[in-house]
């Protein structure tokens, strides 16, 4: 039997609802009511005539109106470097709570509108994440604080400086509380400030800390640091609960390295093997070759067992046979690749991390796959230090607290104690840019600049510096916190002068300050991997102190890739991005396994009627969760790949309403989701997000969750989707690299075979593409589903946010979606992520059915969409086999003249339409109005711009020849794994031509339809022993 892929359980069961919905493009019935007479209908004939008369009259009035006088106002004194209408690009750095990504900001007429990865960065190599892409929208967030305040009242900088200077002088012990700061010059500013006030200190606090690793490394290696993990050097990667492709330490860097080891070619069919142990389905786990499920409390037992196994000893303490076998297999895979193996663990337990260090030492990882020459400065927070601070505050020994970019009132587990402690601190100063939970507790607030308004530097890894420069004049009366500290510390210079003098001496000759600022990066690190001396003395104690596995249902808190620790909660782009694992938008929910669904929710997904009921209706059953006597209620989602006895809840929700309209559910006027941080536990000096002793109880309530999983369904005649995506195991591929090619040959044999398919598959002659022919190649082995491309596409193409109620009605607008497919074991399936966008078919079915030729084909192979011609019949969307066309059901962009077209939309949409937020719009892309279809345009504005650049220079277009690019499309540029290649197919030297020529894994989705897509995929190769 052929392998079957499924997106939904209905599809797995081939239920009635699935069959019905896969045939229909639109889920809603059209409001025709034929049974009633015309006069009784909602819009009877007479009304129709009235409307007709009104519109004719309105048109006549409009026609007789004079054309409005428009003004063209030039600069009074035009700056030399600005040409209106031409974008400038400035290298700068995204910095958020320790995360550092070098970016290039595209600035149009003084407004940053898009961030691109900085390709000069040795860490990210031009990659970004969804959160980086979305951060430009935060700049225009209407909920940002606009001026300094004392007790919530507006004041000016002079007054607040004077008052604070006096307060600090008599405050006593001063504590600077910050999230991880890895800016050398800022740390210098802090040192200077601390020197001015004796007895003051700086405490680093991470929302989700990595104290466990830091402390374990101090024990094992004598260094309280995080080394650089080199996933690109590892042939066997084992992760125990570390979601390193999404949220763990430095995911963009790791994703790039990971893809390096996963990309495979016909000449050298080798790739890394990734084994993952986890409790709640994660993005990284979904990408693994093999995934084993375990209870969160079993982590200690697993690492201990793994240590024994790699030592060659027998395994104790694991009762689950499957898991035990898994550990043995894992140990074998690891020991086979000594020196090329890497084990990482997401646990915050020091003992567990000490054991991980021991395993890596045995595997000779230090100096080979773990680089101790290069220290990762993304996370420095130690939980005990902060716990001590909370105690100090409660004891009344803290005189003043300065909070920089940290929000412990929201994220600290014991926030009640923290709040009482804060009340005892005399002087509380926050530099928060929004009125977050901690800032609200502070008397003095001096809002910080957004990073796009700031000067600065960052050292994400030792020797890898990244610089930050303002790309826009500050929008509000805000100030960088460094300026404040310098001022209060008595320095006469401002931060910019400080920054320049700090770097002045270090940057000389060709590496001048100007050059560093222009490049955005400055690299002094060497490529040689360093090792570290391992000390095993505390290992035995660690093994003895590992927490034993518990019984009963357990709960794990996790971070979503878009929301993170809560930083993305107020960003509508991130909230509307379907989570790659659950495909849910706008909400917080309880993740349960299919097995638990049977007992807890009374839903047996293998039964047709039950799976349909669960999937067709957005209303999900609400579960009451009792933790430590406290009760919370959340809707439950069934996600395979989750341990049967474990449930998961994402952190980052239940934000304060002052963070903006995005965090508010406007039906109930309460914050979306529940803040679960207060339920975390403090165990042995570190915060643990694994909770046991919980009780789950099904309530009779329901709550709608906007899942996009069952949107845009499409199917193939055989019902197993192998014509949509192709996958093979490494074994098959090694045996015959042409497996996919032969499969395609077989599929197309009836239509003239591969060679003649294009001509013989149709009675029409193919059209000429004389100059350029655009094409895209997506490597499914590189794609990990992170969603950076999706947000990049949103930002580049003015894709509208529609809000939860509209997503619930299947009205989501994303031009690019990432389809999630399951195969194999329904409880712990293999997962494939497939980015799906307009395939720009050369024989496009949508084009033939448009009655007004609003969508047609260009001589460059683009499937063009002309909004002004579109009359909204939606025939095209109905006829699209890939379901990638989007219809503007309402006026999402506020571009219509009729306000009624926005009546039903929720706050998030109105928020996006505020004048301030609209500054993020790309002026080169039309903002679509109600009633038209839209879809991926292959970033045609970039194509035109790139062509123009080449034409002006009078030379052929460059799309990847010698790695020279005139243009990159937004999704391609943002991809951290370089999984998307785009270019001119007619040019034999372009990257896309090479990619297509060199890989036998190439396939086209639904190729047999003879729609002739211009997007090809490279089949996913899974490094497993079993046959697929």
């Amino acid at each position: 039997m052929e392998k079957k892929y499924w997106q939904s359980f209905g599809e797995l069961n081939n239920s009635d609802a699935y069959q019905k919905s896969s045939k229909n493009e639109f889920k809603e019935e059209l409001p025709f009511d034929a049974e009633k007479g015309l006069l009784d209908a909602k819009t009877p004939r007479r009304d129709f005539l009235k409307y007709l008369g009104f519109t004719t009259a309105a048109a006549a009035v409009a026609a007789s109106c004079e054309v409005p006088v428009k003004k063209a106002i030039p600069f009074a004194n035009q700056p030399e470097e600005i040409v209106p209408g031409v974008a400038n690009y400035y290298a700068t750095t995204y910095v958020q709570e320790g995360d550092v990504i070098s970016v290039v900001a595209k600035v149009r007429d003084g407004r940053p509108i898009k961030l691109e990865g900085n390709e000069l960065s040795p860490i990210t190599k031009g990659g970004t994440s969804a959160r980086v892409q979305a951060s430009v929208l935060d700049l225009y967030d209407g909920a940002r604080l606009r001026f300094p305040t004392i007790d919530g009242k507006e004041t000016n900088f002079d007054t607040i400086d004077k008052v604070i200077s006096e307060e600090l002088a008599s405050a006593g012990n001063i504590v600077i509380l910050s999230s991880t700061i890895n800016s050398p010059s800022s740390l210098d500013v802090i040192q200077k400030f601390l020197a001015k006030y004796p007895g003051s200190k700086h405490i680093t606090y991470d929302a989700v800390s990595n104290s466990g690793i830091l402390l374990a490394n101090e024990t094992s290696f004598g260094k309280k640091v995080i080394p650089s993990y080199r996933f690109d050097k590892a042939k066997t990667i084992v992760s125990i609960g570390a979601d390193f492709l999404a949220t763990w330490i430095s995911p963009v860097e790791y994703a790039n390295q990971y893809a390096h080891g996963r990309k495979i070619n016909d000449a050298n069919p080798e790739m890394s093997k990734h084994i993952h142990f986890e409790s709640v389905a994660s993005l990284t786990g979904s990408n693994a070759d093999v995934r084993y499920l375990h209870r969160p409390s079993q982590t200690g037992a697993i690492v201990t067992a793994l240590l024994s196994a790699v030592k060659g000893e027998s395994i104790n303490g694991i009762s689950d046979a499957k898991l035990k076998e898994g550990i043995e297999k894992t140990a074998k895979a690891l020991t086979e690749k000594k020196g090329e193996a890497l084990v990482v663990c997401g646990s915050n337990d020091v003992n567990i991390q000490i054991i991980i260090n021991a395993i890596n030492e045995i595997l000779l990882a230090n100096g080979k796959t773990i680089d101790w020459n290069s220290i990762n400065y993304s996370r420095k927070g130690i939980d005990t230090e902060f716990a001590q601070l909370v105690d100090d505050m409660n004891a009344g020994t803290v005189g003043a607290l300065l909070v920089i970019d940290a929000n412990p009132v929201y994220t600290w587990y014991d926030n009640e104690k923290l709040k009482t402690g804060l009340d005892k601190v005399k002087v509380k100063i926050s530099f928060g840019s929004k009125a977050d939970e901690t800032t609200q507790k502070c008397k003095y607030v001096i809002p910080n600049h957004h990073f796009l308004e700031s000067w600065g530097d960052a050292e994400a890894k030792s020797g890898c510096y990244s610089f930050m420069q303002p790309t826009i004049y500050p929008l509000f009366k805000t100030r960088q916190w460094q300026d404040s500290l310098l001022k209060w510390g008595g320095a006469s210079t401002d931060y910019l002068a400080h920054l320049k003098s700090f770097w002045g001496a270090k940057l000389t000759g060709s590496n001048s300050w100007d050059k560093a600022l222009q490049d955005g990066v400055h690299n002094t690190a060497s490529d040689i991997l360093g090792t570290s001396v391992y000390n095993a003395t505390s290992l035995a104690a660690a093994i003895a102190n590992v927490q034993p596995a518990k019984t009963g249902i357990e709960l794990q808190f996790y971070q979503k890739i878009a929301i993170g620790a809560g930083q993305g909660a107020a960003n509508p782009w991130l909230q509307e991005m379907p989570d790659p694992v659950t495909r849910a938008t706008w909400d917080n929910y309880l993740v349960v396994s299919p097995a638990m669904a049977k007992t807890l929710l009374k839903i047996d997904l293998s039964k047709n009627a039950q799976s349909d009921k669960y999937e067709v209706h957005p209303d999900k059953k609400v579960v009451a969760i009792k933790i430590n006597g406290k009760l919370i209620e959340l809707p439950a989602l069934i996600i395979p790949g989750t341990h049967p006895e474990t449930v998961g809840i994402a952190v980052g929700y239940g934000r304060d309403k002052k963070l903006g309209k995005t965090v508010i559910n406007d039906v109930t006027d309460t914050s979306i989701g529940v803040n679960v941080y207060p339920f975390a536990q403090y165990v042995n000096g570190t915060v643990s997000y694994d909770i046991s002793n919980i009780e789950l109880k099904l309530t009779d309530k329901t709550y709608p969750v906007a899942l996009t999983q069952t949107h845009n369904l499409y199917n193939t005649p055989h019902g197993n989707r192998t014509e949509i995506l192709k996958e093979l195991t490494l074994g098959e591929y090694k045996e015959n690299t042409k497996v996919i090619l032969e499969e395609r040959e077989k599929e197309l044999a009836a239509y003239g075979g591969l060679d003649n398919f294009r001509e013989e598959g149709s009675i029409y002659k193919p059209f000429d593409k004389p100059g350029i022919k655009w094409g895209m190649s997506i490597d499914l082995n590189a794609c990990n589903g992170c969603g950076a491309c999706l947000i990049a596409c949103n930002a580049e193409n003015n894709v509208s946010v529609v809000g939860k109620p509209e997503v619930l009605r299947f009205h989501d607008m994303h031009w690019l979606r990432i389809d999630r497919y399951y195969s194999g074991d329904a409880d712990n399936p293999n997962v494939v992520f497939q980015p799906m966008l307009c395939q720009h078919c050369d024989n496009a079915p949508c084009e033939n059915v448009c009655p007004v030729a609003a969508t047609n084909h260009s001589s460059e192979g683009l499937n063009q969409m002309t909004y002004n011609r579109c009359i909204g019949t939606r025939y095209c969307a109905n006829n699209c086999p890939y379901k990638v066309r989007r219809f503007n059901w309402a006026d999402y962009t506020g571009s219509d003249s009729f306000p009624n077209n926005q009546d039903e939309l929720n706050n998030a949409v109105h928020y996006m339409n505020e004048d301030l937020t609209r500054m993020v719009l790309n002026p080169d892309v039309t903002v679509r109005s109600r009633g038209v279809i839209e879809k991926c345009s292959f970033c045609v504005q970039r194509l035109q711009d790139g062509k123009l650049k080449a034409k002006k220079e009078g030379r052929p277009l460059k799309t990847g020849q010698n790695d020279e690019w005139d243009l990159k499309v937004a999704c391609q540029q943002s991809c951290p794994t370089d999984g998307i290649i785009f270019g001119n197919v007619n040019d034999a030297e372009s990257s896309i031509s090479k990619a297509r020529r060199d890989s036998n894994r190439l396939f086209y989705s639904l190729e047999f339809l003879h729609v002739l897509p211009n997007v090809n995929y490279l089949a996913k190769v899974r490094n497993t022993d079993e046959q697929a």
């Binding site: 428009k70 030039p74 040409v83 031409v86 260009s858 034409k951 002006k952 009078g954 040019d987």
Partner: protein, 417 residues
């Protein structure tokens, strides 16, 4: 040494010879340029200005070219020499001497100007359209008369027929069926309705198409800025002020500091009298003062001026494309090498700018259909191998060349995205 000297001499003499031959070759066309540069400030062809109208000047001087040239070179000499015509002119123009051009213009150049003056004819207003209009009007009048005559004849015939019928009815003693009057006759009503629909529809459609189009739009601007004076008379390159046309999508209206580059020193207008759209006189110097006000510039304290004190001038936008149209100036100016005048009309002859074309999609597309791209000159097009081969082997007409349309220039997403 000697060789070098000889070489030097040869080189020098060649240069002199060449320049001499060049100067001798001054043509009427150059005469026009010289006239515009040196004479136009005081003279007009058909109207007295600071100096007399120049049309027919040679006849007035008795066709004595030499004397006329001498006058131009230095009129004072001629007056001093007691030439009668010269003295007459001098007196007639209130003893205002003409500036001497001895050191400025060569004889050949003065002759070129005189040739130009000789050949000059008053511009005939372009009446092509009107002429067509009148002829078509005449035609329709004629047609109208014929139609009317025929209609009259038909009516008479109808009456005749009716009378005959009446007579025959009476003769045969048949009671006539009462005729339905025309206004109640359903076929006539239907016919009239259809006619009304077609004619009304035609006019509605044509005027609807014109909606939002502004051909000929010439709004009053905050400053009477004359392109004719700047780009025409003074020959300032368009790109000096509209530099964006080379760089990006907008040609850009210059900022005040660009205006002030020149108008810091040019504070008075001394050219030909300017008239606004209503035919009223415009004081050029007063308009420059307006600019100075925007710039915050004090003529008496020129050095103290700071460009940052300027206020933006709120010009009224004339050429405006809808938001869903992407138009890039640099694409057309740099790559396509299209003259500004192609789309903006003879801007160097306009005082206040007037929209020359309707900027409609049909107008854009027509141009794209007809205009050739720089197919051989621009290396970008080397990728169109097929067309290059077809041009070589004659499959494509090389005189027609490769038009913008041929490389996809009329496709939707070339301008709409």
């Amino acid at each position: 040494m000697i060789i070098r000297q000889i070489a030097k001499t040869i080189l020098l003499s060649t240069i002199i010879l060449l320049s001499a031959s060049y100067s001798n070759k001054a043509t009427a066309q150059e005469g026009k340029t010289i006239f515009n540069t040196y004479c136009a400030a005081c003279h007009k062809m058909d109207k007295d200005l600071t100096g007399p109208a120049l049309m027919g000047v040679e006849e007035r001087w008795g066709n004595d070219r030499e004397k006329l040239v001498a006058w131009v070179k230095n009129s004072a000499n001629l007056i001093a020499a007691g030439d009668k015509h010269a003295t007459d002119i001098f007196n007639k123009w209130n003893k205002l001497p003409m500036a001497p051009f001895e050191t400025v213009l060569k004889d050949a150049e003065i002759n070129a100007v005189l040739d130009y003056i000789k050949d000059w004819k008053p511009e005939v207003p372009i009446v092509d359209n009107n002429a067509n209009q009148t002829s078509s009007d005449k035609n329709s009048l004629l047609l109208g008369i014929i139609t009317l005559a025929l209609a009259l004849a038909a009516l008479i015939l109808l009456f005749v027929k009716r009378s005959l019928k009446k007579l025959s009815n009476e003769a045969l003693d048949v009671t006539p069926v009462k005729a339905i009057p025309v206004w109640k006759n359903k076929s006539y009503i239907a016919l009239a309705a259809i006619l009304l629909f077609v004619v009304g529809g035609y006019f509605t459609t044509t005027s609807a198409i014109e909606l939002g189009r502004n051909k000929g739009y010439e709004p009053i601007q905050p400053i009477f800025y004359s392109h004719k004076v700047h780009a025409g008379v003074n020959q300032i390159n368009c790109l000096y002020c509209h530099g964006g046309a080379e760089k990006g999508k907008h040609a850009n209206i210059p900022s005040v500091n660009v205006c002030m580059n020149c108008h810091k020193s040019i504070t008075e207008y001394s050219g030909e009298q300017l008239y606004n759209i209503d035919g009223e006189k415009v004081d050029g110097t007063a308009e420059i003062k307006k600019l100075h006000e925007y710039a915050g510039f004090d003529i008496n304290n020129a050095n103290a001026w700071n460009p940052n004190d300027a206020k933006s001038i709120e010009w009224v936008q004339i050429h405006s494309l809808p938001d869903h149209v992407y138009f890039n100036h640099s694409q057309h100016v740099v790559v396509g090498k299209v003259e500004c005048q192609t789309c903006h009309g003879e801007i160097n002859k306009m005082d206040e700018v007037k929209q020359f074309t309707d900027l409609s999609m049909g107008w854009c597309v027509n141009c794209h259909r007809e205009t050739k791209v720089q197919f051989k000159e621009n290396g970008f097009y080397s990728i169109y191998e097929k067309y290059h081969n077809e041009l070589k082997n004659g499959k494509l007409d090389s005189t027609k060349g490769i038009t913008v349309e041929k490389i996809g220039g009329t496709e939707c997403q070339k301008c709409h995205y």
